[in-house]
Amino acid sequence: MEAKSIEDVRELATEDIMSPWKLAWRRLKKNKLAMLGLYILAIMVLLSVVGPLVSPYTMEQMDLSNIQSPPSLAHPMGTDEVGRDVMTRLFYAGRISLSVGLFAVVISVVIGSVLGGIAGYYGGFIDSLIMRIVDIFMSFPFLPLLITIAAVMSDWKVPPQYRMFVVMILIGILSWPGLARIVRGQILSLREQEFMQAAEALGIRDRRKIFRHLLPNTYASIIVSATLDLGSAILTESSLSFLGLGVTPPTPSWGQMVQVARDLYTLQMQPWLWIPPGICIFLTVMAINLFGDGLRDALDPRLKR
């Protein structure tokens, strides 16, 4: 074999080179704040998923003989105005808040990366068109639109469980432009790389070039941006629900549970009703941001190689 030379020696030396993802994970593990974020997030997810299963109460189960009671052994976070267990509702609310955030982000990632990919790959007129749509979305008055839609939904008596989906979709549709910009910028420079010329010389179709060859090269930034977006999506859902425009009772979400604090009496006298969901929102969003920042540092291409 003629290859038995410097090549083979080099092969041995390169054998323990790690994949970029492993490398990033290693860097991430060293970042204490990011790992703290990851742990808090994991605990929140775990509580939301497992909590309702192990709780002796159900979400709607009312105990009219035991309303508005402060925390006790039977109800560690007390009960609300119709005697429902606050802790159980908090677990359920976590499910709702986290999944609204997650689906909103999934929607935004799908729209953002597809449109960003197409804009960056084709450039020219298509790019200008998509980027003007991005501009429009970015300068759109978000809140008035949501208030209007919420009002329309109340008018049409949309059932609460469907309103949740509307909120998800709305947040998703309104938050893709940032991601589209990031993806477009990266594709714009990636498509000039020699490996794309090589792909073209193999006779590969445009669609495959965009979605199989180019987009995977942007996964790192998509993941970072999606993580940080998850935090703001959860926050948006909370604010909307707090204002009564998002998830509505009897479906609980963290923001919707905090809503009771709008009543001065509850605010002062029944802190067990609004402090726990408030802390949940704060901890979750902070954890996501810590983790997202850590992820960004770990995946930063400027630190790579």
């Binding site: 030379s5 090549e7 970029p20 490996f195 010389a201 193999l202 006779g203 995977p216 190689r305």
Partner: protein
């Protein structure tokens, strides 16, 4: 002619840049016979790569193929629709690029990348494409092929990557292999190995090769016929032995003289005095005249045509006007 695989006639590829018109390829004609290795030499920027990419219509705006015929097996590729020429790319004509570091996609395994062309042009499914990819890796002399197939490009050395590129390029038994400076980015020992590999593969497959390089050493080793390009035009062409023994054009002579013996990776071609002309402001007459020690009045005024100067040997230079 029956034994011509590819015949290019009067190819012109221009770039309409913001600063003005760049005639990257300006009226180039040549042929490649079946099984032949055509060497294309010239300093960087003289239009070698653009000529090669024009064959497969891989020219992106602001570039445009203005005119010319590229007859490949009797079909004019220039007239083909995008969908049809795509079936030729990577199948009957494939390309090896200069930079093995950057011409493989960093997020795909070697096997996936080789398999891509195989699945596309040979109608094999994933499992069989993978088998074929391993087979191709073995063919190009990659040790531990069944492990390398699952590795990412960054896990391989430059030489191994270039072998993988070659495996990808020959995986569909191309009739024409375009190698654009395939060894320029590699160190000398690896260069020799890759050239050796290409020569063996070429003999086994019976493919023709268009070998682009600025290294006359590589041309001497590999090519049957050589064309020398300068500023988008062919200035001299002949069979390899004839060209090296009996170079006519002052530019070719300059290239031959500037070929150093020891420092193989120096910027050797710059030892011709002066610089490649600015493509936006080409000199009048013979494009080479500002750098030519034989320049005459006529050289500044009008452009010499590529003409036969002795049997089977053409040059575009006023010095040889009227010799035949």
């Amino acid at each position: 002619m029956a034994d011509d695989l590819l015949a290019i006639h009067d190819l012109r590829t221009y770039f309409y840049t913001e600063d003005g018109l760049v005639k990257a390829v300006d009226g180039v004609s040549f042929k490649i016979k079946k099984g032949e290795v055509l060497g294309v030499v010239g300093e960087s920027g003289c239009g070698k790569s653009i000529t090669a990419m024009s064959i497969l219509k891989l020219i992106d705006p602001p570039g445009k193929i203005i005119s010319g015929d590229v007859i490949f097996e009797g079909i004019n590729l220039i007239e083909l629709k995008e969908d049809d020429i795509r079936k030729i790319r990577g199948a009957s004509i494939s390309v090896i690029f200069q930079e093995p570091m950057t011409s493989l996609n960093p997020v795909f395994t070697i096997g996936d990348q080789i398999g891509e062309a195989i699945m596309l042009h040979q109608d094999l499914d994933k499992v069989n494409a993978r088998k074929k990819a391993i087979e191709m890796l073995k063919t190009v002399g990659i040790p531990r092929a069944d492990e390398v197939v699952d590795e990412y490009p960054h896990e391989l050395s430059g030489g191994m990557r270039q072998r993988a590129m070659i495996a990808m390029a020959i995986s569909c038994n191309p009739k024409l292999l375009i190698a654009d400076e395939p060894t320029t980015a590699l160190d000398v020992t690896i260069q020799a190995q890759i050239l050796e590999l290409m020569r063996n593969l070429k003999n086994d497959l019976g493919s023709s090769v268009m070998l682009i390089t600025h290294d006359l050493g590589v041309v001497a080793e590999m090519a049957d016929y050589v064309i020398v390009m300068y500023a988008g035009k062919i200035v001299e062409e002949a069979e390899v032995v004839e060209l090296f023994k009996n170079a006519k054009h002052p530019y070719t002579i300059g290239l031959l003289q500037s070929k150093p013996v020891i420092m193989r990776d120096e910027d050797r071609l710059n030892s011709i005095p002066g610089q490649v002309p600015n493509p936006l402001h080409m000199p009048s007459g013979c494009y080479f005249h500002p750098r030519c020690s034989h320049a005459m009045d006529i050289c500044r005024e009008s452009q010499p045509e590529l003409k036969e100067v002795c049997e089977g040997h053409k040059a575009a230079c006023w010095l040889y006007e009227g010799v035949i």
